[in-house]
Amino acid sequence: LKRPWYEWVLWAVWFLVEIFVLQNAIASGAELEPRAASIFWMTFVVLLGGV
């Protein structure tokens, strides 16, 4: 709780990027775009890096 503010900001950014990537992964599946979906899913898993 006492970490500096910029650390909180970095985690917030990480969280938002994960949400964005997850939405694109799920929606790309719904769009029947398998390659795009797999790239987004892999990115999501790699970020989930989240140190």
């Binding site: 917030a12 964005f20 694109n24 929606a27 790309s28 719904a30 769009e31 029947l32 398998p34 795009a36």
Partner: protein, 473 residues
């Protein structure tokens, strides 16, 4: 848990506000990720007096279209081949006109033979059920006519005065009516001495289109007379299925084009009767692609921008639309063109030109004034295409209409994933990113041809299109 522990875990006021601030910031940022995608599932009142839909911030209204026009050089175009001049459309007689009768006959026979063989061989996208789908789509059409069915009772016959309202109200009720009949986006253009040049000189059936001071439109064996009072152009789009078009060039893909034309004809007849009931005239296309230059009117009505395809691309559906137009004397508020960065994107993309098997599309970075042949209409700067190459491929190879360029276009997306809106916004705001976005489009596997057989296993929405996408602005 002792007192010391409790004391240590109690948040100070500063820490509490820090957490609350970050939480609020995250929530705001998350909601702003997709400002244009908050689905308006329940019908909401128009926010614009003329019923214009709210569009994303990156679709900017402009005074002049992104296509440069030299009205002094432009002439009314003939949508029928004129042998003496070697000009006019490549459709119909134009194919033989430009290539020679013998060559045209040979190519047509070649295409027919290939189609027969594909059907016999049960080739993907050309099977009997694909042919059946195309035939079914054709059958859903209604008869097109310049003057309309003229079966509805006029206000006079109903014993009431004709409808009257402001031009904005006229535009609004037409938008509501056409949307309910199946149109996706609707815009309006007011004819003046320049924009009149976008009305054909000759219709596909050879009839001459002539403006007249007579108040009522009429038609003879040789002419269609347009009253000068019918100076308002209703321009509307009908969506095609992006998923079907990804099967180009097959019957599976071409049926969505056929279906959109059929729905366009239904909407035209419906709108003509709607206008007649209000006490006004609706002068429509007497046949497919008649009356005037659809993409040009679409651009002036703010429905999209011209592109490397030399067709209109819309911000909402990319090129996945058919464009229709109709003249009326009901005063409506005209729309302005838009700049959504589409033309800029086309400068560096070239994906359609690379994919075109006939080499009909231009690889030039900048659009140009010089036409490629009599089938093009001079007077505007465009990526003019070689329509004879395109048509030859349709007739002799594909055996049906093609659509590969539509299917591979980076603007052809279903728009479910947030990334598409971000890319379109990025393209509009920062055109220098276009090459990067084009590369990413390839890397992510967009625009690849799909299997016709797989299409039959998809659980799709009505008409294979997302009818909600225009009310998400």
């Amino acid at each position: 848990m002792n007192d010391t522990g409790k004391a240590k875990r109690a948040l100070s006021r500063r820490e509490f506000f820090k957490m609350a601030g970050i939480g609020t910031g995250a929530a705001v940022a998350a909601s702003s990720l997709q400002p244009a995608k908050v689905a308006n599932a329940a019908a909401a009142p128009y926010t614009d007096p003329a019923g214009r839909p709210a569009r994303p911030w990156w679709v900017k209204t402009v005074d002049q279209p992104t296509t440069e026009i030299d009205w002094a050089k432009m002439k009314r175009y003939s949508e029928r081949y004129i042998e003496e001049e070697g000009s006019g459309t490549v459709r119909g007689d134009g194919f033989a006109g430009y290539l020679g009768a013998e060559e045209a006959e040979r190519l047509i026979k070649q295409g027919n033979d290939k189609m027969k063989q594909r059907l016999v061989d049960n080739v993907d996208g050309y099977t009997l059920k694909d042919h059946a789908m195309s035939a079914g789509q054709s059958a859903t059409s209604v008869a097109r006519s310049f003057l309309g069915p003229q079966k509805a009772k006029t206000p006079e016959e109903r014993g009431v005065p004709k409808w009257s309202g402001t031009p904005a109200e006229g535009a609004r009720i037409l938008r509501t009516a056409l949307r309910h009949m199946g149109a996706s986006t609707i815009g309006f253009v007011e004819l003046d001495e320049n924009t009149r040049k976008l009305i054909y000189s000759i219709d596909p059936d050879g009839k001459i289109l002539e403006f007249t001071d007579e108040p009522i439109a009429s038609e003879t064996e040789t002419h269609r007379y347009i009253p000068n009072s019918c100076k308002y152009v209703i321009v509307y789009t009908v969506q095609m299925s992006e998923e079907a078009m990804k099967r180009s060039p097959t019957m599976t893909a071409s049926q969505t084009t056929t279906g959109a034309y059929s729905r366009g004809a239904q909407i035209a007849a419906g709108t003509q009767e709607f206008l007649r009931t209000l006490g006004y005239q609706g002068l429509s296309e007497a046949s497919t692609n008649a009356l005037g230059i659809a993409p040009a009117f679409g651009v002036l009505a703010g429905l999209g921008e011209m592109s490397r395809l030399n067709r209109m691309i819309t911000p909402e559906f990319g090129p996945m639309v058919r464009v229709f137009k109709m003249l009326t004397d009901l005063p409506v508020e005209p729309d302005k063109p838009i700049n959504a960065g589409i033309m800029d994107f086309c400068r560096s993309c070239k994906k359609c030109a690379e994919a075109c098997p006939s080499g009909a599309l231009s690889f030039e970075s900048e659009p140009y004034w010089e036409t490629k042949g009599g089938w093009n209409n001079a007077g505007h700067k465009a990526w003019f295409e070689d329509a004879t190459k395109c048509r030859t491929y349709w007739v002799s190879e594909a055996g049906t209409n093609c659509g590969i360029c539509f299917g591979v276009c980076p603007f052809s997306k279903k728009d479910k994933a947030w990334i598409h809106e971000w890319v379109k916004a990025g393209t509009s705001a920062a055109p220098f990113l276009a090459s990067f976005f084009r590369s990413m489009d390839d890397a992510f596997g967009y625009g690849v041809q799909k299997s016709g057989e797989d299409w039959w296993n998809l659980d799709q929405p009505e008409y294979g299109v997302d009818s909600m996408s225009v009310v998400k602005g």
